[in-house]
């Protein structure tokens, strides 16, 4: 029994955290956050992300990747969450996973190398407004000639993407994944105002757009892709939550009211203890789910939904508590608490909300 990261995986996490602490701290995050018209894609950071191999984690070695898995990718995701880091890392990794899972040999050879180096920035458009994160939530249709019409929203980082993986319902009800050039004729890209300034969100409209079908696409591949999105988002949420908790505890040790550190009051202590346990459980759940996906374990769908629902719930509560237990300063724009809160609030619903994932858990354990 070895339920833990390897030394190499720990070292990967350390290197990401050290780089971010040194080169992309909260001051840099604030720069992106307070520039909503900017593209949210700091080029210096992206260069490092590519050079360090953080985009190559899931890319097979045959295509100049590291040939690792979701367990390794979640190490990076967690560190990015802890730093509330902007940029199209997750979207590019997920697009790469779509190509790896469903692309022909030729498509993989053409696309995965540039994904691994960061030369290609990519994103995924899998769900339309009001939809769930499953096949029923797809709002794009593929015509018999393969052209795509419909909408997807919210889609991260289309503004800087070279390619978009679009999920579409095909004639006969199958699901296809298509590579779309966001600059192609018939594509409209509309920026959305997001309270979370650590990303950029868009609505994508497609009107008879020519797409390139990933050869092995299917509803199963869409599910596999969404499960990877859910686990990596859960990892980011766990990173957000752990950092928010650490910062809150640290503040409440120093902050004195009524002549005592506020962290000495049991009303706070007991709640913070519960949150520490909650974050720890979410960390375990993310590890298990990532491993279950990598190893093709039979309980992977259950594990993914446990991880995403737990991470979403605990991150929302921890980041809200971060505001509350900082008192008035925590509600100011000047304080960083809102970066954590707003990122958690967005990610709580990305790739399936806690409620949606509990629906799946119920289906698996009550109806099963």
């Amino acid at each position: 029994m070895y339920f833990a990261l390897t030394d190499e995986q720990r070292a990967l996490g350390d290197s990401v955290r050290e780089y971010l602490a040194d080169r992309f701290d909260l001051t840099a995050v604030r720069g992106v956050f307070e520039d909503p018209r900017g593209d949210g894609h700091p080029r210096e950071l992206w260069k490092a992300v590519g050079e360090q191999g953080w985009l190559a984690v899931c890319v097979p070695e045959d295509y100049d990747g590291l040939g690792l898995g979701v367990l390794d990718a979640q190490v990076v995701a967690r560190a990015f969450g802890a730093g509330v880091v902007p940029g199209p890392w997750l979207t590019t990794v997920l697009a790469g996973e779509a190509v790896r899972l469903a692309g022909s040999d030729d498509q993989q050879a053409r696309l995965l190398g540039p994904v691994a180096t960061g030369d290609t920035v990519a994103t995924v458009a899998v769900r339309g407004e009001g939809g769930r994160f499953d096949a029923s939530g797809v709002r794009v249709r593929a015509a018999a000639d393969g052209t795509l019409t419909g909408t997807a929203s919210p889609v991260e980082y289309v503004g800087v993407a070279d390619t978009v993986v679009v999920a579409a319902t095909e004639p006969g009800g199958a699901i296809g994944l298509y590579l779309v050039d966001p600059h192609a004729a018939g594509v409209t890209v509309t920026g959305l105002d997001s309270y979370d300034g650590t990303t950029r969100l868009f609505a994508v409209g497609l009107e008879g757009v020519a797409g390139e079908r990933l050869a092995g696409s299917s509803a199963e591949v869409l599910t596999a892709l969404l499960d990877r999105g859910a686990v990596l988002t859960a990892a980011d949420l766990v990173g957000v939550a752990r950092e928010a908790l650490t910062r809150t505890v640290s503040y409440d040790i120093d902050r004195v009211q009524f002549g005592k550190p506020v962290g000495s009051f049991q009303a706070l202590k007991h709640h913070l203890a519960d949150l520490h346990i909650g974050v720890t459980m979410a960390e375990h759940a993310v590890l298990y789910a990532a491993f279950a996906l990598d190893s093709g374990s039979g309980d992977a769908p259950l594990a993914v939904s446990v991880a995403k629902s737990k991470a979403a719930d605990v991150a929302r509560e921890v980041t809200a508590t971060m505001i509350q237990y900082h008192g008035g300063i925590g509600y100011t724009w000047e304080h960083e608490a809102h970066f954590f809160y707003k990122r958690a609030k967005r990610e709580a619903y990305a790739y399936g909300s806690a409620v949606e994932h509990r629906d799946r858990i119920a289906a698996l354990t009550i109806d099963g």
Binding site: Y2, H270, A273, H276, A282, L302, D359
Partner: protein, 390 residues
């Protein structure tokens, strides 16, 4: 990550499973079998079965062989817990002795204590009780007042212990006793090993809110114990107790998950019986409970890994306790919610016997109290893990 057990561990599982299948009569699994048996008869059945289990080599799984243990791995102990739960095997009659006293004796007992205590305990010839809590010393154990007055080479013990598991069946009790008159708090306390079969020891059953009497009260009135029958040195009882309690930090979470997951499935079946399994609110609530149970399973694998790697778990046991006890309690509240107006009935309709589930639901109110209340555990996590000030 590698979540497999070793080949030896899996071989152990096969042997244990086979022995359990052969040794547990089918009627023991009938609903109501245990509850209609008189308490003494049930206890003797369990005592005898457990003795045969020990003879077959399935006791003291991870204990060294020199103490009559199997010399197995922490993974084998985890497998043992799981298989015992899956087989509906009777609970041990010597839980406090096996979990706490034995490993403490192995660590700090005298050679004579090692010889005289561990073997008879494994064979269930001696049932051990734990004498910690008192009416005035619950969470605040250091407020204990039971006293031992030195008279020659004996202590004369006076006082009262409470919440004593198996008090009515106990032969001996490892008790925290203030052996230095006038001492305060954790100083001047010794852990004495007292014979319960003597005129100075009176035991009374303590009827719990569930109606059962797993616990009792133990009264000492000039009870006698040799000065030599102390564990860990006179006046050093607090240190002995802390060491003893640290042995709770095993890898039992995986076994607990197995029990709780079966309870979850039983509760789901009850939801179906009452036509509630399609109710979206009930489904959300059940799924929330399952999330916490699965987290317990992952956490238990983490703890097992830490134990196998030889790491000190420190205050992590408080996190484990909070996770399993609160998750279990919440699970049984969901059971109430899906029964609704039938929530207080043992037999809501003819032919439907929910007594054992109702008993578990009642029992769940105790799990956040014994072994360190949730509030005490939260203090420990807040202060020792998070570093928040006292």
């Amino acid at each position: 990550m590698d979540l497999r057990y070793t080949a030896e561990e899996e071989q152990f599982r096969t042997e244990l499973r086979s022995w359990l299948a052969d040794s547990i009569p089918a009627r023991w699994r009938d609903p109501g079998f245990w509850s209609v048996l008189p308490d003494n008869e049930a206890f003797e059945l369990r005592r005898d079965w457990e003795r045969r289990k020990a003879e077959a080599g399935f006791a003291g799984i991870a204990w060294p062989t020199e103490f009559g243990g199997r010399g197995g791995t922490p993974g084998m102990k985890a497998i043992y817990d799981v298989e015992m739960a899956l087989a509906d095997a009777p609970m041990t009659v010597n839980p406090l002795g096996l979990t706490f006293l034995a490993p403490t004796v192995m660590a700090i007992g005298t050679e004579q204590q090692k010889r005289e205590i561990i073997g008879p305990m494994l064979r269930n010839e001696v049932i051990w009780c734990q004498g910690f809590s008192e009416p005035g010393a619950g969470s605040d154990l250091a407020a204990l007042r039971t006293s031992g007055r030195l008279e020659g080479d004996e202590f004369v013990v006076n006082g009262q212990k409470v919440w004593t598991t198996n008090a009515l069946h106990g032969d001996k009790i490892f008790a925290m006793v203030r052996t230095e008159p006038g001492s305060q708090k954790h100083r001047g306390v010794s852990m004495l090993l007292i014979d319960m079969n003597q005129p100075g020891v009176e035991v009374r059953p303590l009827k719990q809110m569930s109606g059962a009497s797993e616990f009792g009260e133990v009264f000492f009135t000039d009870a006698r114990v040799s000065v030599e029958d102390n564990l860990g040195g006179l006046g050093n009882g607090w240190g002995t107790a802390m060491l003893l309690l640290s042995f709770e930090r095993g890898a039992s979470g995986i076994g607990q998950y197995t029990v709780f997951r079966r309870q979850y499935d039983d509760i789901v079946a009850t939801a179906r019986t009452f036509g509630r399994s399609d109710d979206p609110v009930v489904r959300q609530e059940l799924a929330k409970r399952l999330v916490e149970l699965e987290c317990l399973r992952y956490h238990a694998m983490h703890v097992l890994t830490e134990v196998e790697q030889g790491h000190d778990l420190g205050s992590e046991s408080s996190m484990t306790k909070l996770q399993w006890s609160e998750a279990s309690q919440d699970l049984w509240e969901t059971f109430d919610d899906l029964l609704g107006p039938e929530a207080t009935l043992g037999h809501p309709r003819p032919g439907l016997d929910l007594e054992s589930m109702q008993q578990e639901a009642m029992w769940s109110r105790s799990v956040t109290i014994w072994g360190g209340s949730s509030q005490v555990q939260r203090n420990i996590v807040a202060e020792r893990v998070l570093g928040l000030p006292r």
